[in-house]
Structures are given as structure tokens and as C-alpha cells.
């Protein structure tokens, strides 16, 4: 399969790993954060940490759009779903995220009509097929997904649909990265930059990270070789004393981003003054809401949203895990009260969450695993 298999070549990986090792200054510790949940997933799925020298550590960041949804927003969504004649639609990842009184799955079992979709266009199709129902699409995701939601809203308007709306929970990546950079708990040497978000916003917005904070950032693809190559590029920068934004994922990411995508987002949505991120608190200008001109498609205006706020249990340390301060297994409830079967926090539910990735993929000391898989 083109554009995928070539980036999973084990021989090239070994070569890259050797080169990475040679770029490391002996005795120096390197900490890179991969912002994007998709990168966390790839790293664990392919066992990439096995390829890195001991002194290079990867820290998992908050780029998991499911993980940062506060429990209160889940409750609000269920509230909408429980209204008469509502069909709620959502991506699969959100179905098991626990709110204050359970997940979408639980609510579905109790009778609410909540359906899994793979694309907002599927929700539109359901709206066309069910003119007597009110279809709501729970829109989540960073700038990667916002254009698709925007296009769907534009399509709904063009078709004159009156029974379709979105519950907008899109968030933006830069405020989260800035929050990490300003956090006193963390000292990072560089960033593995989000790949697909950059397809939309381009590489220029990351300039401030290199310029003002002096940290290199390499926009990375999602195949294992992409990530290894990006680490190689970060180490090269550090070895040469540079601090720049570079694009490893040039085959997909245009430096200027996708102007059409940015245009449709801008046409249908605008920034909220502030938004609550699970574990990170309120961050200003970090999320999107539907513009007044598209009010007819805004679930927040069509339905009365209670604006629930649910406190995370004190023992839940999703916030620290999202900021990369704690490794998943350092969270006090990891593996006991909080497991994939009984998740307390979103990091354990989402397939991109650091805790889920670690529990499902990485959960064993390196030596023991290598011993078992030898031969």
C-alpha cells in the first residue's frame, strides 16, 4: 500500500535509530513532547520507544480532543439527546467517555437515541432520512476536524435542512501548547508537532514557539518512520544550536496550510472567549462556537443547555498526564480504579489517550518484553 508501507520499514528504522543515537550528547537528557494523540497512539502501537536511546524521553501532550472534553459537556450532550425526537450523533471515541452520570453508551442503553457516525456527513444523511426528528452532531476535534464540520453545516444550509444542528466542542491547538510552555512543571527540549492539524493551519503559527520560547518544533507524520525522522531532525537542530519550525510531513502538510479549510471554519464559526479543558482549566480563545449567521444550526441555541460543571474526582490526575507532567503509570488510580473497562478519566477512554495507549500497548517493562519476544 503506497504511502503507508514504505514508512514502516524496519531496516530504515534501525538506520534512523543508529543515527539518532549518534546525535545525542552523552550524558544529556532529552525530553520531547508529542502534542498530538495520534502520535501517542503510533508510538505505542509500533513500540517506537524501543528504538530510542535511554536518554531520549517522549512526553505525551494534550492533543487528544476527546481527552480534554470536561465531564460537564458530556452531561450536556446527554441532556440534549434525552429531549423528545432528538437523534444525537457522535464519533465512536466519545461513546464511552464518562460524564457525571455515565457515558453516551449508558444513556443509549437507558433509551436515548445516540448513534455512532464516521463522518459529519453521515449525520446529515440521517437528518435527510428523518425529517420529523432533530438531528444533532456532537462536533469534537481540533482544527483538523473543524473544516469538515464547517463544510457539513454549509451543506445543510445549502440543502435547506431545518432539522440539523451541531453541538460545537471544537478546540484549537495553539493555546494548549502555550499553556504547556508556560507551565512551570515542565522542561521540554522540543516538540513533535501535530501533523494533521498543520494540514489546516500550516506551519507558520508555530513560529512563536521557536522564536519566543527557543524550542524547536518539527511537524511530523503518523507513520513510525515519520516520527523517528522528526526526532532525528529535532536532535540535529539541538546539536547545531538551532531553534526553528521544520516540516517533516511535507508530503501532506503545505507550509501555508489549507486556505479553503480556514475560510469555511471562519465563515461558520468563531472563537469563544474561554472554554474549559479537562485537567487544564479555563483557557481563553481556545475553542470554537457557531456564528450568529448560522444560529439555526447551533444546538446551543436550539436547546436549553444546563451548562453542567462536574468536578473531577480528586484522585484523577488526567490534567497532569495531559500536560505531560506525569507518566500514565504514575497516576494513583491508573490500573486499579481507572482501567479501560472502568475509566475514571478521559485519558483512559480515548484510543489516543496516553493512559489508554500505555495500558493497551506499552504496559510492560521493556526488558521483560524484549526477553519474551527474542527469538
Amino acid at each position: 500500500m503506497r504511502y503507508v508501507d514504505e514508512y514502516r520499514d524496519a531496516d530504515k528504522a534501525r538506520a534512523l535509530a543508529a543515527s539518532i543515537a549518534s546525535l545525542c550528547e552523552p550524558g544529556r537528557q532529552y525530553k520531547f513532547m508529542e502534542v498530538c494523540g495520534g502520535h501517542t497512539h503510533t508510538i505505542y502501537k509500533h513500540g517506537l520507544e524501543d528504538y530510542l536511546p535511554e536518554n531520549v524521553t517522549l512526553v505525551h501532550g494534550p492533543g487528544c480532543p476527546v481527552c480534554v472534553i470536561p465531564m460537564g459537556r458530556v452531561d450536556d450532550t446527554i441532556h440534549i439527546a434525552e429531549q423528545d425526537d432528538v437523534i444525537m450523533t457522535s464519533f465512536g471515541d466519545m461513546m464511552r467517555v464518562p460524564g457525571g452520570r455515565g457515558s453516551f453508551f449508558d444513556s443509549k442503553a437507558a433509551g436515548a437515541d445516540i448513534r455512532m457516525v464516521y463522518s459529519p456527513l453521515d449525520a446529515l444523511k440521517i437528518a435527510r432520512q428523518n425529517p420529523d426528528k432533530k438531528i444533532v452532531f456532537m462536533a469534537i476535534g481540533f482544527e483538523t476536524t473543524a473544516p469538515s464540520t464547517a463544510m457539513t453545516v454549509l451543506r445543510a444550509k445549502a440543502e435547506g435542512l431545518t432539522n440539523f444542528s451541531i453541538f460545537c466542542n471544537h478546540v484549537t491547538i495553539l493555546p494548549a501548547i502555550k499553556a504547556i510552555l508556560d507551565s512551570p512543571d515542565l522542561r521540554l527540549d522540543g516538540f513533535i508537532g501535530p501533523g494533521h492539524v498543520s494540514t489546516v493551519i500550516g506551519c507558520r503559527p508555530y513560529d512563536f514557539i521557536a522564536r519566543e520560547y527557543g524550542k524547536p518544533l518539527v511537524v511530523a507524520g503518523f507513520e513510525p518512520l515519520d516520527i523517528l525522522q522528526s526526532i532525528h531532525m529535532l536532535l540535529s537542530q539541538l546539536a547545531e544550536g538551532r531553534s526553528e519550525v521544520e516540516n517533516q510531513y511535507g508530503r501532506v502538510v503545505p507550509w501555508e496550510g489549507n486556505l479553503t479549510a480556514l475560510k469555511v471554519i471562519n465563515e461558520t464559526m468563531e472563537l469563544r472567549p474561554y472554554f474549559e479543558w479537562r485537567g487544564l482549566g479555563f483557557i481563553s480563545h481556545s475553542a470554537l462556537k457557531v456564528r450568529d449567521t448560522f444560529a439555526a444550526f447551533d444546538a446551543e441555541r436550539i436547546f436549553e443547555i444546563p451548562g453542567s460543571r462536574v468536578a473531577d474526582p480528586k484522585a484523577c490526575q488526567c490534567g497532569e498526564v495531559l500536560k505531560g507532567v506525569l507518566k500514565p503509570w504514575e497516576c494513583k488510580v491508573f490500573g486499579t480504579a481507572c482501567t479501560p473497562e472502568t475509566p475514571i478519566g478521559t485519558c483512559m477512554v480515548s484510543s489516543e489517550g496516553a493512559c489508554a495507549a500505555y495500558y493497551n500497548f506499552g504496559r510492560f517493562t521493556r526488558e521483560r518484553v524484549q526477553e519474551a519476544t527474542r527469538g
Partner: protein, 90 residues
Amino acid sequence: MCLGIPGEIVEILPDQPDLAKVDVSGVRRNINIGLITDDDPQPGDWILIHVGFALSKIDEAEAKAAMDFLEGIGQAYADEIEALMESRIE
């Protein structure tokens, strides 16, 4: 969620120019190409698919450049190993 996969455009649907039939390993799906119309997508082009939409065209030249870099590293590695082997032979 960041799930984006490459696929090859097989056909632009004649009655719906916003849609293209895309092939991923022999499986075909209709994808909305409304976000990349500026790039003039054509059958044979490869695109990045995300939740039913094409986000970007995959640039073959860039892909080749990235592969060449990796080959280069691989070659350097292979050369080194070879040199190591040769140095052992007395």
C-alpha cells in the same frame, strides 16, 4: 481522531463534483473533496482522508524527497556496517 489515511482518487463523480470515489487498498469510498478544489484533484492523485473529507493532496515529489533522505540514512548505516565488517577481515 487524528485518523487520516492516504487514498487514491479513482473517479470524480460526474453529477456531484464535490465527491470523488477513492480507493484504499482495494476498498472504495466516496469522499468529499470540497476542501481541496483549489488543488484541482484528478483521478490518479493521492489524497489524505479524514472523517469523510479530503484535507490535502499528497505531494509525490515531497514523498520521494522524504524517502530519499531515509534511503540516505539507510545507505550510510549500511556503509558503516560494511566498513565495520571489512575492518574485521584480516
